[in-house]
Amino acid sequence: MRPPILKLNNISKHFGPIDVLHDISLEVRSGEVLCLLGDNGAGKSTLIKILAGAHIPSSGTIEMDGEVVAFKTPRDAANRGIATVHQFGGTFPLMSIGRSFFVGVEPTRNVGPLRIFDRKRANEIAVAAVRDFGITRIDDGDRLVGGLSGGERQALAIARAVHFGARILILDEPTAALGVKEAAHVLRIVLEARKRGLAVVFITHQVMHAMTVGDHYAVLIRGAKAADFKKGEMTREEITDLMAGGEAMAGLEAQIASHTGHGREASNPAESDNVTKNEVRHEDRA
């Protein structure tokens, strides 16, 4: 087996007296999708913030390519090739595709003594990069990012990360806000990224989506790693039960998930109640 590109050794994180993460060890390999599962408030966000350099762990070490690294800022992590894509793509809604793709690294060309932003080239590269990931509906780099669908924005953000040399892609709930069809698009993009040899950390609480793309799974419960297993070692029901920690919610969530193939449809009042409550708890943690 290939050595892990990223390795977490006994990572713990507490904010004051509150223990958020406890003794987490994980391995991420290139060409593999690691699914980080857990209910809202389980500590997934904190863990990815540590990976992305936004939080510094209270104890434990992070290794990249076998050497211990310390990320002080998100910049450090980004320079090491770790890219985080957030739920809404984290891009600029009122900027054009071409412009937002190249924020901070704008291509320029010389016109007389002036260096000007090369809009045409930026648009071409951005559109090509997104189309490479199978999103062929995007063909005009002048369109505003805010006008794209949720899945297209995810694709744009992932394509951007890959274009700028990301080796580890952290996807924070990329399918949570999407419809079934859009979610399927994003899952396909995740598989495409894996095919290109990227290491993908896929954070979700939707077991169905995790089952579709994951090679390796880790389940977080209340800040601790409750399980760590490979594809095919557990059934969906077992994972769902595990995630919910045996609460009554587990049955309900699995039921809804199996009905719609998508656990977060707000049409079910019980389900949306559950989400709100959990999100409040989640914010308390953060």
């Binding site: 998100p74 600029f92 009122l94 900027m95 924020v103 901070g104």
Partner: protein
């Protein structure tokens, strides 16, 4: 077959031409300056209908161009700050501060005019640095920070002026090149400021819309955290923009003092709201991330025509604020519509 191609292809071509025009019109409407341009058109038609076209003749043009130029030099950096998600209202104090400083240094004390100009601009840079650093280092919203510096600078200007000159108004006599460059009339009617305004606007257009730095400003206004993570020096850029706006305001003050041969402590407050109106009418989104220099340029002209155009109509000039208020509301609603069009725009499938 070949006989059929003739007429149908003509039809296709004319259809194509019509669609291209429609696409270009649509493309224009999706631009941030579309609202400002249409607003300007509406205002021109309104005053043309009620006051005749005399405000488009030389004398009439000079009256609103002078207002627009003075406001425009300040409105653009204020607008850029707004695009970047910040606000600077201290410009209201920086205009009289600039005028008084140069008048005291070069008029009251009689030091060389260039020394006065440079020292005054340096004061503008200093206040901008303080504003910018306070906004960047503290989490206090820029509206509050610059509200503080607005009053602080007003206090300094009034206090020091009375302390030094025992007066709130100082005369300044300027001659030669400095007078011609900073505060004279061209053709006896147009202030030199008009030329400055056009040059400065051109420079801003280049930096904001053609160089890569403009992209940084829009990114910062769209999502500051993402922009910083993408490697944009957001703090340095914010401070730079604050320095630009307060220095531009002192520059306007300097030019006014040289033009009118005197400076007063009072006045300048109107620049705060006027600049914001010009910027918002010009299509800049109050919450940042969207706008254009050309839009601000048109917004400034629109505002100036409304304030001056009223003199060319039979209306009582007391009504001009009503027109400005309506203009602002209509412009904002129109800009919202155009922005929605821009967001939902997707090219038709080929």
């Amino acid at each position: 077959m070949s006989q059929r191609i003739g007429p149908s292809s003509t039809l296709k071509i004319s259809l194509g031409v019509a669609m291209t025009i429609a696409t270009q019109l649509g493309g224009f409407l999706r631009r941030p300056e579309a609202g400002a341009f249409l607003g300007l058109l509406a205002v021109l038609i309104f005053f043309g209908a009620f006051g005749g076209l005399s405000f488009l003749q030389i004398a009439g043009m000079a009256s609103w161009l002078n207002v627009a130029a003075t406001l425009g030099v300040i409105a653009i950096p204020v607008g850029l700050l707004m695009i970047a998600g910040e606000l600077d209202i201290s410009v209201g104090a920086m205009v009289p501060a600039g005028a008084m400083s140069v008048a005291i240094i070069s008029g009251y004390w009689g030091l060389p005019i260039y020394f006065g100009i440079i020292a005054t601009l340096a004061f503008g840079v200093l206040v901008g640095l303080i504003n910018g650093l306070m906004v960047v280092r503290t989490a206090v919203p820029s509206l509050i920070v610059t509200l503080g510096s607005l009053f602080a600078v007003q206090g300094i200007v009034l206090g020091l002026s009375v302390l030094v000159t025992k007066s709130t108004s100082v005369a300044l006599k300027t001659e030669g090149v400095a007078k011609a460059v900073f505060g004279d009339f061209i053709f006896g009617q147009f202030q030199v400021m008009c030329v400055w305004w056009i040059i400065i606007t051109a420079v801003y257009v280049y930096f904001v819309h053609f160089s890569r730095y403009g992209n940084w400003i829009f990114a910062m206004g769209g999502d500051k955290v993402s922009a910083r993570n993408a490697g944009i020096p957001t703090e340095r850029l914010t401070v730079t923009l604050f320095v630009l706006s307060s220095t531009s305001a002192t520059f306007v003050g300097i030019c006014q003092a040289i033009l009118y041969n005197s400076a007063q402590v009072a006045g300048g407050q109107s620049f705060i709201f006027n600049a914001i109106i010009a910027v918002v009418v010009g299509g800049v989104l109050l919450t940042g991330g969207f706008g254009s220099v050309v839009g601000i340029f048109f917004g400034t002209i629109t505002f100036a025509i409304v304030t001056q155009g009223i003199y060319y109509t039979d209306f009582d000039r007391n009504w001009s604020s009503l027109i400005i208020g309506i203009l602002l509301l209509v412009a904002v609603l129109m800009n919202n519509t155009f922005r929605k069009m821009a967001l939902t725009y997707a090219p038709r499938r080929k």
